[in-house]
């Protein structure tokens, strides 16, 4: 074992409790200069909590940390930054109402000749930063709320990299990114300068591609630190979960192509979407694969009733339908329910409990005599929580206190509970741990087997190939290609994604090349 003195960062026996919840207990972690160190663990294992402690956002109840040999007790985020430790947070920390430049400069703006903050100096400095990180296409004067989620994620990363001179912490930096090469390149550059990187991701393939060692957390305890080269996926999984790999992947029977259509759209346009026609059938799991900004977001929002199409027709269960709003979509035909792209703004209701979040759309069903009964609520919530591996004890927590992955599970559970027979899932397993993904896939399949229809978008190709019966590739707002059955392979998809029928040389590698399990 390495001595702390040589380590870039050493964490010793750190603990943190939130009331009765023990988030971390006796966690040890050592980062070497220049290494990319993975932090692995199930949803709720305590990864983000450790991140917050390293960033000075949360003070540990116990334990000690050293940075390059000297005691490290950051009191604020600026404090840790000034020591060269910077973080890209899981729940992004950008200000939506400020410009890209202001966000990058925060909290100190560059001054102009007058001694006052100068917008032009900020723009200049920000553009220079963006250029260095290959993001020159982002306008420094743009308001952050106008950026795509992926670009916001990139900005969060860039901001952290700018300040990380000793330790860079990346908490699920690729959750909203479909291409990871950009990030990998930057991480390699920064480690070459001797900066240690703590990397958190639920995409094991990504972790293997980037990291040399990994520390595994389970229930808030550090279980082990392993050399990734010497550990199989199954080993890691067992350390994370405490039990052996569950491989419940069963081959899917071929779909009945003549099943009635749940959703049929023709000539749909709006936003980035140009002219899209397709049919989603009962019992079908249809994937949408696309690079960022090809119109997938508009497609989902239109079908969810959150945006109006500029052209085209929508048939729901055979009837021409105008989707005015989400509750209209819930009631259209056999019902349409939606898991939104943005968990924080469109997903969770932070002051309500997880159970309250899950049962909201079906509140009528858990009431008797006009009153909502907590017993019925718990029963309803538990019934679906199980299918997404969300531990029942979380149900009574305010959802804001759940870890990111567990929040995501709650949102999925909610759509399942609505009883809608068509699900629109935008990146359904974002931030969900490896073990749970399989359970979620299974739940989705069960849903389809029972006659439900699923349209999902994913930023991870393996998820597409694992889960979908059929996949449409969106490019430039149009359906460029469609794959089913045997054709559903990552290599083919990659080609279509960038607008080619065949794989061109130098096409960007896709995220999460994990091959399932």
């Amino acid at each position: 074992m390495v001595r702390d003195g040589q380590a870039a960062l050493a964490v010793r026996a750190v603990s943190k409790s939130y009331g009765a919840t023990v988030a971390l207990e006796g966690v040890d972690l050592v980062l070497q200069p220049g290494e990319v160190h993975a932090l692995l663990g199930e949803n709720g294992a305590g990864k983000s909590t450790l991140v917050k402690i390293l960033s000075g956002v949360v003070r540990p109840d116990d334990g000690a940390m050293t940075l390059a040999g000297s005691a490290f007790q950051p009191r604020t985020i600026l404090d840790s930054r000034s020591h060269g430790v910077a973080t890209a947070f899981q729940e992004l920390s950008l200000l939506p109402n400020l410009t890209v430049a202001e966000n990058l400069m925060m909290p100190r703006m560059p001054r102009g000749r007058t001694g006052l903050a100068s917008a032009s100096a900020a723009r200049l400095a920000a553009s220079e930063i963006l250029r260095r990180y290959d993001l020159a296409r982002i306008d420094a004067d743009e308001t952050v709320s106008a950026l795509s989620l992926a670009d916001r994620q990139r900005l969060e990363i860039v901001r952290a990299m700018e300040h990380a001179t000793k330790v860079l912490v990346l908490d699920e930096p690729t959750a909203a990114l479909s291409e990871v090469e950009w990030l990998f390149g930057l991480v390699r550059q920064i480690t070459a300068r001797g900066v240690a990187v703590l990397y958190i991701s639920h995409r094991l393939a990504e972790v293997r591609a980037l990291c040399s060692r990994a520390t595994v957390l389970r229930n808030g305890r550090s279980i082990a630190t392993v050399d990734l080269a010497g550990a199989s996926d199954a080993d890691i999984f067992e350390m994370m979960v405490g039990r052996a790999v569950r491989n419940d992947k069963t081959p899917r029977p071929l779909r009945d192509t003549a099943a009635p259509a749940s959703v049929a759209v023709a000539g749909l346009a709006g936003g980035q979407l140009k002219d899209v026609s397709f049919t989603l059938r009962q019992g079908e799991v249809l994937a949408v694969a696309a690079l960022e900004g090809q119109g997938q977001r508009d497609l989902f929002r239109i079908l969810a009733g959150l945006a109006r199409p500029a052209a085209g027709s929508i048939h729901i269960d055979g009837k021409p339908t105008v989707l005015r709003n989400p509750q209209g979509a819930l009631k259209a035909g056999r019902g349409i329910a939606y898991v939104p792209e943005e968990r924080k703004t469109e997903g969770i209701l932070s002051s309500l409990t997880a159970a309250g979040n899950i049962t909201l759309p079906v509140a009528g069903r858990i009431s008797r005599g006009g009153l909502v009964w907590s017993g019925l609520e718990a029963k309803a919530a538990t019934s679906v929580a199980e299918s997404v591996d969300l531990a029942a004890r979380y149900l009574s927590f305010p959802i804001a206190d759940l870890s990111g992955g567990n929040q995501q599970k709650a949102l999925l559970a909610r759509t399942l509970l609505t009883g809608a027979q068509t699900l629109l899932l935008f990146d359904p397993t974002r931030g969900v741990d490896v073990g749970t993904k399989q359970s979620i896939y299974a739940a989705i399949r069960r849903f389809a087997d029972a006659g439900g229809s699923v349209l999902f978008y994913s930023s991870e190709l393996p998820e597409v190939t694992d889960l979908a019966d059929r996949c449409m590739v969106l490019y430039g707002g149009r359906i460029l290609a469609e794959f089913h059955g045997e054709e559903l392979e990552e290599q083919r998809l990659v080609g279509a994604l960038v607008g080619h029928a065949t794989v061109p040389k130098g096409a960007p590698r896709m995220a999460g090349l994990e091959t399932g399990s």
Partner: protein, 335 residues
């Protein structure tokens, strides 16, 4: 095909561009347009509206509310409600009337005194809200009541005399045309433009949009909140000072009418009452609109029983106007 063909059913609220443009965009510009429209109506019905005398009166009349609304804007931008405005205005008005100080020097000392009173109240608010983390509206309700009480202790009925220098010079004009009160408002606006270009100034927008993200971005939320409340308190002090100049006497209840009006002015000026969006100049003009509206209705000969009905609908229309103007602009710009 235009990129805006999809009309999102929910608008995310307009963002802002650079800090420079921020001062001039939407809110302020639109409410200024509204002011111009109202003034045109006024001038149409009352030709004397165009005289410098009338204009000066109008500015004098609006100045206290405008400056108080400017102060309130600081707190509203950082996502808060500050009710102490009523207390501070009463307290400073009473201070001006009970301890008048003659001459320009005296006026300066009085002004500093008013600012100091406002700053003390603002500091208490800041402490209650930023450190003890009480809800702004509740904490400032408490301080407002305390201030009202203190004003009553100092002066138990209207009376006292504000220094002549203050009440004459500050309601007069420079070179016979430029209202002094207008200059003071302009000074407040200028200070704002400067403040907007400080880290704390930008921090106010950050805290107002998302306190937690602001904190994670390194903004000292505590410091920003303190600054907002102290700045606001000082502006209320200036508002009380200007009110004293106008009424020339003290009244322990002087601030009460400000309570609702400042928020109306702030909202009219395009600042979001849920924080993070808007600006102080809009509020100033918004206050001007509220005062001008009374004149327009008077000169339009609206029967007194029904002025309220007009006022109410104009308020609603003004907001709708503010909503649709930018759409028109955008539609024009896209072509």
């Amino acid at each position: 095909m235009s990129a805006s063909a999809v009309q999102p059913l929910e608008r995310n609220g307009g963002g802002r561009k650079s800090s420079w443009v921020r001062a001039l965009t939407s809110g302020a510009a639109i409410v200024t347009l509204l002011y111009v429209v109202l003034y045109a109506l006024y001038a149409m019905w009352e030709p004397r509206a165009l005289s410098s005398y009338t204009f000066t009166n109008l500015i004098n009349n609006a100045a206290p509310l405008a400056i108080a609304a400017a102060g309130e804007t600081l707190v509203v931008l950082s996502r808060g409600f500050d009710l102490s405005v009523a207390g501070v205005v009463s307290l400073t008005n009473v201070f001006m009337a009970v301890w008048p100080m003659e001459g320009p020097g005296g006026a300066l000392i009085s002004l500093l005194g008013c600012c100091a009173i406002g700053a003390v109240v603002g500091t208490v608010n800041g402490w209650l809200v930023a450190v003890l983390r009480l809800q702004t509206i509740a904490a400032t309700l408490g301080t407002m009541i305390v201030c009202q009480g203190l004003a009553l202790v100092i002066l138990d009925a209207p009376g006292g005399m504000v220094a002549d220098w203050v009440s004459y010079e500050l309601t007069g004009t420079l070179f016979g045309v430029v209202p002094i009160a207008g200059l003071i408002i302009a000074a407040v606006a200028l200070l704002w433009l400067v403040f907007l270009r400080t880290n704390t100034g930008i921090g106010i927008y950050a805290v107002g949009a998302d306190e937690q993200a602001a904190m994670l971005s390194g903004v000292s939320v505590t410091r920003v909140r303190f600054a907002a409340f102290v700045g606001a308190g000082m502006l209320y002090g200036v508002a009380g000072f200007m009110l004293s100049a106008q009424t020339a006497t003290g009244n322990p209840n002087a601030g009460a009418p400000f309570l609702m009006l400042v928020f109306a002015a702030v909202a009219l000026g395009g600042t979001s009452l849920s924080g993070g969006r808007g600006g102080l100049i809009g509020s100033i003009v918004g206050a001007g609109c509220l005062m001008l509206l009374q004149k327009v209705l008077f000169s339009g000969g609206v029967s007194s029983f029904y002025t309220g009905i007009f006022q109410g609908f104009v308020l609603i229309l003004a907001i709708l106007f503010g909503r649709f103007m930018p759409r028109l602009f955008n539609a024009g710009a896209k072509k």
